[in-house]
Subunit: 236 residues, 2 copies
Amino acid sequence: MGEEAASEIQVLDGVEQAPSVYELIREDIISGRLNPNERLKVAELAERYETSTNPVREALQQLRGEGFVVMEPNRGARVMPIDESFVRDIIEIEVLVEPALTRWFVSIANAADIVELEAIQAQIEANNFEDRMKHGLLDTKFHQFIYDRHYNRHAAELWWKHREILRAISRRFPTSLSRRNSVLKEHRDLIEAIRAQDADRAAAVVAAHVQGSGRHIIEQMGVAQRNSGNWRSPRK
Amino acid sequence: MGEEAASEIQVLDGVEQAPSVYELIREDIISGRLNPNERLKVAELAERYETSTNPVREALQQLRGEGFVVMEPNRGARVMPIDESFVRDIIEIEVLVEPALTRWFVSIANAADIVELEAIQAQIEANNFEDRMKHGLLDTKFHQFIYDRHYNRHAAELWWKHREILRAISRRFPTSLSRRNSVLKEHRDLIEAIRAQDADRAAAVVAAHVQGSGRHIIEQMGVAQRNSGNWRSPRK
DNA sequence: AGTGCAAAAAGAATGTACGATCCAAGTCGT
DNA sequence: ACGACTTGGATCGTACATTCTTTTTGCACT
């Protein structure tokens, strides 16, 4: 399960050069082909991506700087292990940042922007979570549309980085029915608040949206843990 | 100007191993020995730190991941250039994050903590900005004391990273008299709010503190620019 | 002689290769 | 059990090939 999707980047316009090792490893982490806490041996990766050890080492260092990889001296690298508190930490930051970004959007959004948002939301509703990959793309597009033009590039990039980490995690779990409904409702509420130029309400909706998303992920993580680990028979 | 001060780290307790190239470069960036936007040539750095190119390349990649260095493909690396909007971006994020961290501190602080904070503040006031380096250390200690025990490590580290970047910048500029007074007053206000268990007021004070610090840095950057660049005689 | 442009050369980054060390873990013998 | 030995792998140094960018050079044309 999971050797497709290398194409996403590959096929763009033909003049594209081969993705760097950095991008490849990053994609493999985010898409789950490399699992959390998995050991990352330089030699293995070099072979896997058909390159030498040097680029791999450099890619790993960069990923360490970005927080996707942890390294212990002389013990090598592994994929950032993610636990519930890690998710909670990120979410807490996003609960602060995203409403602030949203407020700015409310203040600059024009009619065309709202039409665009509604179009994306229509696609999301049409898809109705059937194609998970597609839902992910559309949902990202929805929020990115709101944050992308913000003057604070630093904040927008922080959001993007966190989003990718969360995407890497939630990809592993299903989305509960109730969560699906909440997502749709919150998106609609958000569009409404924006249309009404109500920055406070938009910020509140986004805060709830993020909070809900975090809660959902953490719940799913708990479920998965109980289903896999030492659960069924504690005395085995 | 600038071949002293490599000792800061070197001399610690004798059992310390040599700092990594990564740490050395990072320190040189933060302390201003490497200037913003300065070109970072791998060969030069390798010689400077008496090592080979490989570790330098890796260090640069990691610093890129952390945002201290920017790299363009085939064009090499340079120290992250910092302009006013960059400072503003960081400050805007901190205005969101630091009050949140402070609230938590208010909820867990005990009498001993307040005594400790007051002790640090007393040292700050005793020093009264005379030894700039010392003030920097004490001020960092003051805020770190508040944030360090927060359960959200991710947020605390984000604060720390931003703090170091701001430190790298503000090190270049003097602190105006009015700013000095504000700093002292705000610190005292903060301690008071914490003692009174008034999270809202503590958060407000911190927000103002951060905002003021950012405004001050940006003003100083503007002053420095006008004093250096094409200012005195536009027709020279 | 001065100008513009393109080929050539120089400067660096990037990638490959390989050997030398060093460290942590596991293995084996006592 | 416990300590010496073995081993996998990370880390570092070095050298060299390749590729890209920038600068210089050389030459035709005005």
